[in-house]
Amino acid sequence: MFKKNYRQDNGVAYLLLAPIVILLTIFVVIPFFYSLKVSFYNWSFYQPSVFVGFDNFKFVLEDDLFLNSVWVGIKFTLMVVPASMVVSFLFANVIKGMRRGSASFVKTSIYIPTIISGIVASVIFVFIYDYMGGLANYVLGWFGSEPRAWLADVKTALPSIAVPAIWLGFGLTTLIMLAGLHDIPESYYEAADLEGAGPWQKMLYITVPLMKNIVLYLTVTGFTGAISQYELSLVMTGGGPLDTTTTPNLYILNHFRNDVMVGNSIAASLLLFVVLGSISAIIFKVLNSEKAIDG
C-alpha cells in the first residue's frame, strides 16, 4: 500500500515539475549555454563566425566604459534601494495605523506607479525636469533660483533618474512591507506596552528584527531590479551626459545596436551576470536569512 502510493506520488511529482522544467529549459538553460558558446565567437549574421577565445571578454573588461557602467549601476542602486526602503517603511507604518477605508484608498493610490511602465514614467519625468517650463524648475523659480539642467548636468543626472525609479518601485515595496508588519503578532506589542516600552523601543526591538526577512528579500530584489534598470536612462538621458547615466544594461544595449559583431554584448551580459550573482551572494551572506521566531 505504502509502496504503491509512493510510486504514484513520484509520477505526479514529475508531471507537476514538467511544465516548469520545460519552460526553464527553453527560456533559460538553452539560451544560457548558447550565449556562453557565442561569447567565444565573432558572431556575424552574414559571414561564418570565427572562434576568438576569450577576446570578447578581454575586450569588455578592458573597456573603461563597461567598468564605469557597473559603477554607475552600483551608485544608482545605492541611491534607489535604501531610499525606497525608508520611504516604504514609513508609508507602511502610516497605512497600518489608518482606518480600513482610508487605508485601502492609500494602498491603491501608491500602487498606481507600479503599474505604469518605465517608459511612460520616463516621459512624465522628462517633462518635469524640462529645462524651460518643467515643473521642477518652475518650483525652483518660486525661490528665485536659476533653472537647472537636471538631466544635462553631470552632477544631477543620476540622482534625477533615481527619483522616478524610487517612485516606480515604492508602491509594491510598501505593500510587501505592510504585509510583513501585519504578520507581527499584536500580542508582542501588547506585552511591550505592559512593560512600558515607548514607540521607538517597540520599533527597534520588535518591528525591525521581525522584518529582517522582508528587508532581505526587498534588498536582493531591489538590488537586481535597480542595477538592471536601463529604460529610464535610455529615454531620459540616453546614457549621457558623458556616460554618467549609462547603466550596465544600457551599455549592453548600445553595443548590441551599434556593433557589427554581437559577441561583445553577449560577453558583457555574461560578465554582468557574474557581477550581479556575486553581489547578491554577498547580500545574502551579510543579512543572513533566519526563520522567524514565531514561525
Binding site: 527560456f27 524651460m132 539642467a149 551599434n258
Partner: protein, 486 residues
C-alpha cells in the same frame, strides 16, 4: 480512496499554480534580462509575423496552381520586403505613394513597405538578421555602406541595376556608394549637415545687420551674446556627445583639414590646432551662456528655433523643410547662411554631406526584384524624385544630374533662394561623411562635451586620443579602411 482523491484535487490545484508561476517566472526572466531579449522577442515576432503572412500568400497561390510548390510558376508575384527609416511625415507619405504606384504598375513584383522609427531601427534590424528574416532591401546612410559591404551584409548592385542609372550620378556621389569597383547602394539624396539659421527681426532689434550673417566662429558667439535675452537663447547647436559625434564632422574638417583618423586608420590624428580650435569653439559657446544648459531638442530638430526660443540655430539643410511645413509664419523672418568657419574663409568646410540610399540585403532571396524597385523609385523617371524634393520643400539635394536638369524647368525649384544658396555656397565645399566606426566619432565628441562641461580641453583631447588608439588596437582597425585599401 478518499485521501487519494484529495491528493489528486490538491495536485491539480498545485499544477495550475505551478503553471501560472512558471509563466510569471519566464515573463520576469525576459523583462529582467535586458532590453535585447524582450525587444528581440517582440521584433522577431513582428518580423516572422510578416513573413508568415507573405508565406501564406505564396502558399495559397501555389495551392491554386495544383500544389506544385514554387518558383517555376510564371504568373506568381514575388513579394519583397522593404524597410524604410521613419523620416518627416512627407517622406513617409512619398514612400507609400510610390510603392503603391509601383505595385499597381506591374504584376511581377509586390513590394511590402514597413516604416520603422529611427530609435527602434538598429535593434529591429539586428533581431531580424539574427532570425534570418531581414528585409530584402532597406534604407542605409552613406556612412554605413563601406562597412556593410565589407561584411557582405549588402550586395553589389552592378549586375542588378542598369549601368546607365549609375552614370547619371554626380561623380563625387558615385564615390559615396561604391567600394572598390562595385556599387553597393543607390543614392536617394544628399543633404549638408550644417547650415546657419538666424532670426532677421531679432538681429535688427539687437542692432545687428540682418543681411550680414556672421562669417567666423567668434562673430557667431558675439552675435549670440547680443541676441540672448530672457526666454531667448543666442545659439542652438548639438551639445550632447551623440549629437556632436556627427554634427561636428564638418567643423573638424574645416579647421583641421582632415578627420579624426589617419588615412590608413592606424592611429588617431587629433592632437593638433585644428581640433583644439573645434573643442574650444564649442566650449566657449557653451560657457558664454548663449546656449541653454540643456539642449532644447536633438540636433536634427529645429522646433525650438521655430517656436521662437532661439535666435540662431545651426542645423542641417533638412530644417528648411521643417520650418516651411511646421512654422509657416516664421519663414519670412528667417535668414539662412552657410555655417561660419573658423577664420571666415567661405571655402572652408563646415558641413559633411550625408544622406540616404537603398541597399539590397546580402541574404535577400529576390535581389533582382528588389533592385527593380530601387531602379524604379530612385533611378527611374525624374518625376518620382522631383515629387520627393518638392514635398521636402527643396531642403534636400539630388545625387542625379538628370533630376537636377529636369528641376531647372520647375518654377518653384528654380526660384527658391535658400535652395540656391545651399547649392552654391554650402554643398561645393562639403565633404563626405566619414566611414570609420562610430566609436571614433563618439570619442571625439565626448572630448568636446567634457570640455563644454569644464574639463581642460587639452586633457579631454588626450583622453579621446587614447580611447581611439585603444579602440584601434582592440578591434584591429589599422589598415582596414575599405576606401584606402584599393
Amino acid at each position: 480512496m478518499q485521501p487519494t482523491q484529495g491528493k489528486i484535487r490538491f495536485s491539480t490545484a498545485l499544477l495550475s499554480v505551478m503553471l501560472v508561476s512558471s509563466m510569471a517566472l519566464t515573463a520576469c526572466g525576459s523583462s529582467n534580462d535586458n532590453a535585447n531579449n524582450s525587444n528581440t522577442a517582440n521584433t522577431a515576432n513582428n518580423a516572422s509575423g510578416n513573413t508568415a503572412n507573405t508565406g501564406a500568400d505564396n502558399g495559397t497561390d501555389a495551392a491554386a496552381n495544383d500544389g506544385s510548390t514554387n518558383t517555376a510558376v510564371p504568373a506568381e508575384k514575388v513579394t519583397v520586403e522593404f524597410w524604410a527609416n521613419k523620416f518627416e511625415a512627407t517622406t513617409d507619405a512619398w514612400f507609400k505613394k510610390w510603392v503603391d504606384a509601383f505595385n499597381k504598375s506591374q504584376d511581377q513584383v509586390e513590394v511590402k513597405l514597413q516604416i520603422v522609427p529611427g530609435d527602434a531601427w538598429a535593434q529591429k534590424l539586428k533581431a531580424a538578421q539574427a532570425a534570418d528574416k531581414a528585409p530584402d532591401f532597406y534604407t542605409m546612410n552613406y556612412g554605413g555602406i563601406a562597412n556593410a559591404a565589407k561584411l557582405a551584409q549588402i550586395q553589389p548592385l552592378n549586375d542588378l541595376i542598369d549601368g546607365a542609372k549609375f552614370d547619371d550620378l554626380y561623380d563625387n556621389i558615385k564615390d559615396f556608394v561604391s567600394v572598390g569597383d562595385k556599387y553597393y547602394a543607390y543614392p536617394m539624396l544628399v543633404e549638408p549637415s550644417a547650415v546657419l539659421y538666424y532670426r532677421k527681426d531679432l538681429y535688427e532689434a539687437a542692432g545687428l545687420d540682418p543681411e550680414k550673417p556672421p562669417a567666423t566662429w567668434d562673430e557667431l558667439i558675439e552675435n549670440g551674446k547680443k541676441l540672448t535675452q530672457k526666454g531667448i537663447f543666442g545659439l542652438a547647436t548639438g551639445q550632447t556627445a551623440p549629437d556632436l559625434g556627427w554634427s561636428s564632422w564638418g567643423l573638424q574638417y574645416g579647421a583641421a583639414g582632415h578627420l579624426a583618423l589617419t588615412d590608413d586608420w592606424s592611429k588617431a590624428d587629433i592632437m593638433n590646432d585644428g581640433y583644439r580650435a573645434v573643442v574650444n569653439f564649442y566650449a566657449d559657446a557653451f560657457k558664454s551662456g548663449i546656449m541653454p544648459k540643456q539642449a532644447l531638442s536633438g540636433y536634427p530638430d529645429i522646433a525650438p528655433f521655430g517656436q521662437g526660443k532661439v535666435a540662431q540655430a545651426i542645423n542641417g539643410s533638412w530644417a528648411i523643410g521643417q520650418l516651411r511645413n511646421d512654422f509657416k509664419n516664421l519663414v519670412d523672418k528667417v535668414g539662412v547662411a552657410p555655417m561660419p568657419t573658423q577664420t571666415g574663409d567661405p571655402s572652408a568646410t563646415t558641413a559633411t554631406l550625408g544622406g540616404w540610399t537603398l541597399v539590397v540585403d546580402g541574404k535577400s532571396k529576390h535581389p533582382k526584384e528588389a533592385a527593380t524597385f530601387i531602379g524604379y523609385l530612385l533611378g527611374g523617371e525624374a518625376d518620382v524624385m522631383i515629387d520627393f524634393f518638392k514635398t521636402s520643400q527643396f531642403s534636400k539635394f539630388s545625387p542625379r544630374k538628370s533630376v537636377d536638369e529636369a528641376m531647372k524647368s520647375d518654377p518653384a525649384a528654380s526660384q527658391d533662394a535658400w535652395r540656391a544658396l545651399i547649392a552654391e555656397k554650402v554643398i561645393p565645399f562639403s565633404k563626405a561623411e566619414p566611414i570609420y566606426p562610430w566609436d571614433v566619432s563618439i570619442a571625439v565628441s565626448t572630448a568636446i562635451e567634457s570640455a563644454m562641461k569644464g574639463t581642460d580641453p587639452e586633457k579631454a583631447l588626450q583622453k579621446a586620443e587614447k580611447d581611439i588608439n585603444d579602440f584601434i588596437a582592440k578591434s584591429k582597425l589599422a589598415g582596414t579602411n575599405p576606401k584606402a585599401a584599393q
